[in-house]
C-alpha cells in the first residue's frame, strides 16, 4: 500500500529553488485547514525509475505541537505528496 498522501501546496519558486510555504489538508471534520511550513531542514533530488522528484524534510505546527513531515514534489506531473521514507 502506498504511503503517499496527495496534498495541496503553496510554494515559492525563486532563482531555481523551490520552497514549500503552506500545505492545505482536510481535517476529520471535513474542513480544509491551511498549515504553514515551519522550517525546511534539508531537501534532496532523486531520479528513481526516471521520475525526477524533490523531497523536502520540514516541520509544521499542528495543535501547538511540532511535527516533522516529508513533502515530495514530482516535477513532471507537478504533484505534491506527504510521504515517508
Amino acid at each position: 500500500m502506498s504511503q503517499n498522501i496527495p496534498v495541496e501546496v503553496l510554494a515559492a519558486f525563486k532563482g531555481g529553488e523551490i520552497k514549500p510555504r503552506w500545505i492545505r489538508l482536510e481535517t476529520e471534520e471535513h474542513t480544509l485547514k491551511t498549515i504553514q511550513i515551519d522550517m525546511i531542514y534539508t531537501h534532496k533530488i532523486t531520479n528513481f525509475a526516471g521520475f525526477k522528484t524533490f523531497t523536502f524534510f520540514c516541520t509544521i505546527v499542528v495543535n501547538e505541537c511540532k511535527r516533522q513531515i516529508q513533502l515530495m514534489y514530482m516535477t513532471e506531473s507537478c504533484k505534491w505528496f506527504i510521504t515517508q521514507e
Binding site: 503517499n4 496534498v7 531520479n47
Partner: protein, 427 residues
C-alpha cells in the same frame, strides 16, 4: 587499438522497474518484489497470461519467462503476479540510456533493457574498463534504483555472453584469452543465437557445451545447419566483427498481431479484428511515410495450429481501406472456420516512394481514401487514438486499433491516497 565493448543488461528488467517504482516513488509498504517470489505477468482474462519477467527468488522454483501464468502458479502457488506498465518501462529505459550517454560515445540499443556501448579510446578519459564499468553500474543503482550486469570484451557477442554470467549487479570480462576458461564450459544453450531447436539438434550430434561446439569441424555444422552453423561456430570461438552503430536500421516490415479475448468463430468478428489490425499497421506505415508491397496474414487456432498466407499487390499502398480489402481476400482464401485465438497482419517490402497505378474508374477513390486517412491520423495524433473510430466498433468488444501495446498496459499506476490518509497528520 583493441576494441573495448560494454554490454549492459538490466537484471530482471520489468520486475526491477516495477519494484523501484513501488518502493521509491509510491513508497509502498509491502515487500520488495525483487526479494520475494514474484513475476510480472499479463492478464489471464484477456488470454495474455504469460510471465514477462520474474524475480531471482522465482528462478529457484524454475518459473520461466514466456510460460503461462497457470503453469507458473502450479510450480509456486504463492507467486505474486503484478500487471505490466509499459510506459514506466520506457521511462526507466530512457533514464538508463541517458546515464550511459554520459560515458559512451556510441550506444547501440539492442532491446528495451540491453545496450552495447563502444568504449574504445576512452581509457584516457574514464580510466580502466573494469573500474569504469563498476562506476557506471553503481551510478545506475544509486540514481535510478535498479541493478545492471555489465559484460566487457572486444566484440559484441563476447560482451553479451559476459553480461549473462553471474547476476545480479556484477561486472564480468570475457576477452578472447578467457574464452576457453569462462565460456567453453557453459552449456551450448547459453550461447547467443542458440535456441531450443538448435540445442536439440546439437545434443543429437553429441554437442552439449560451447567448447564442444567451438571445436567441432565447421563443415559438419554447415552440413546440418547451413549458414546458421557457421554463425554459431564463429560465436562459440568468439569471432564477431560487427561495428556498434547508433543508426537505427529502417523497418523492413510493419506488422501487428493480437490474441483475442474470445475464440473468433465467425467471419464478422474476424473481419473486425482484421480491420482493427489494419488501422494500426497502416497508421504506422503512414507515420513513416512508406508503402507496403507484400501483404500477409497469420493466425493461430484454438488448438495452436498456425497458418499464414501472403500476396504481392499490383501497386504499393498504405491506405487502410485498400490494405484491409487485400487482407480480407487473403483471410477468406485460407480460413476453414476453425475458431481462432490469435490473428496478425503484416505489410512488407516497404518502399518510400509510391508509384500507384490507378484503376481507370477508381483513381479518385484511392486519393480520397488516402486524404481521409491522413486527416484521421492527424486527429488521433492531436486528441488521442480514440478520438475517432469506425462505426462498426461502437459498443463492441473489439478495440478499434488493435496490436502493439494496448491502452490498459500503457497506463501508469495511479497514486493512491486521499482525504482519509490526510487526517493522519492531525492525529
Amino acid at each position: 587499438m583493441e576494441k573495448i565493448i560494454f554490454h549492459i543488461d538490466v537484471n530482471s528488467a520489468f520486475l526491477s522497474w516495477e519494484a523501484v517504482y513501488r518502493k521509491k516513488i509510491l513508497k509502498d509498504t509491502g515487500a520488495d518484489l525483487r526479494d520475494i517470489v514474484s513475476a510480472v505477468g499479463g492478464d489471464k482474462e484477456k488470454r495474455h497470461g504469460i510471465i514477462l519477467a520474474k524475480s531471482i527468488p522465482a528462478k529457484k522454483y524454475n518459473i520461466l519467462t514466456g510460460e503461462s501464468i497457470m503453469e507458473a502458479l502450479q510450480k509456486c502457488p504463492d507467486l505474486v503476479i503484478v500487471p505490466p506498465h509499459y510506459k514506466l518501462y520506457e521511462r526507466c529505459s530512457d533514464a538508463f540510456r541517458e546515464i550511459l550517454a554520459e560515458y559512451a560515445p556510441v550506444i547501440e540499443v539492442y532491446s528495451i533493457d540491453e545496450v552495447w556501448c563502444d568504449m574504445t579510446g576512452t581509457l584516457g578519459v574514464h580510466g580502466f574498463p573494469v573500474a569504469l564499468a563498476n562506476q557506471i553500474k553503481d551510478k545506475i543503482f544509486n540514481e535510478l534504483g535498479f541493478s545492471v550486469n555489465i559484460g566487457i570484451s572486444s566484440n559484441k557477442v563476447l560482451a553479451k555472453m559476459a553480461s549473462d554470467f553471474k547476476k545480479p549487479n556484477m561486472v564480468h570480462t570475457l576477452f578472447p584469452n578467457e574464452i576457453s576458461t569462462k565460456m567453453w564450459p557453459l552449456p551450448v544453450r547459453d550461447l547467443f543465437y542458440v535456441g531450443r531447436a538448435t540445442e536439440k539438434k546439437l545434443k543429437n550430434m553429441g554437442i552439449t557445451t560451447i567448447g564442444e561446439l567451438a571445436n567441432t569441424d565447421l563443415s559438419i555444422l554447415k552440413s546440418h545447419f547451413k549458414m546458421h552453423g557457421e554463425v554459431i561456430w564463429n560465436y562459440a570461438n568468439g569471432n564477431h566483427c560487427t561495428e556498434i552503430t547508433n543508426i537505427v536500421p529502417a523497418n523492413k516490415g510493419y506488422g501487428n498481431s493480437t490474441t483475442v479475448a474470445f475464440d473468433v468463430d465467425n467471419l464478422r468478428d474476424a473481419k473486425l479484428v482484421l480491420l482493427a489490425l489494419c488501422e494500426q499497421v497502416c497508421a504506422r506505415l503512414r507515420k513513416d511515410n512508406v508503402y507496403a508491397e507484400i501483404i500477409s496474414i497469420e493466425f493461430s487456432d484454438y488448438l495452436f495450429g498456425h497458418t499464414s498466407h501472403q500476396k504481392r499487390i499490383l501497386t504499393v499502398t498504405n491506405t487502410t481501406n485498400e490494405f484491409y480489402r487485400h487482407v480480407v481476400d487473403l483471410f477468406v482464401e485460407c480460413w476453414d472456420r476453425t475458431p481462432l485465438r490469435k490473428i496478425g497482419v503484416r505489410g512488407s517490402h516497404v518502399v518510400s516512394e509510391a508509384l500507384q497505378q490507378f484503376n481507370l474508374f477508381d483513381g479518385d477513390k484511392y486519393l480520397k481514401s488516402h486524404e481521409v486517412d491522413l486527416a484521421i491520423d492527424s486527429m488521433r495524433a492531436r486528441y488521442g487514438r480514440d478520438a475517432i473510430m469506425r462505426a462498426a466498433f461502437i459498443n463492441g468488444s473489439i478495440n478499434h486499433m488493435t496490436g502493439g501495446i494496448s491502452a490498459d498496459k500503457n497506463g501508469e499506476t495511479e497514486y493512491v491516497g486521499g482525504t482519509d490518509e490526510c487526517r493522519k497528520i492531525f492525529q
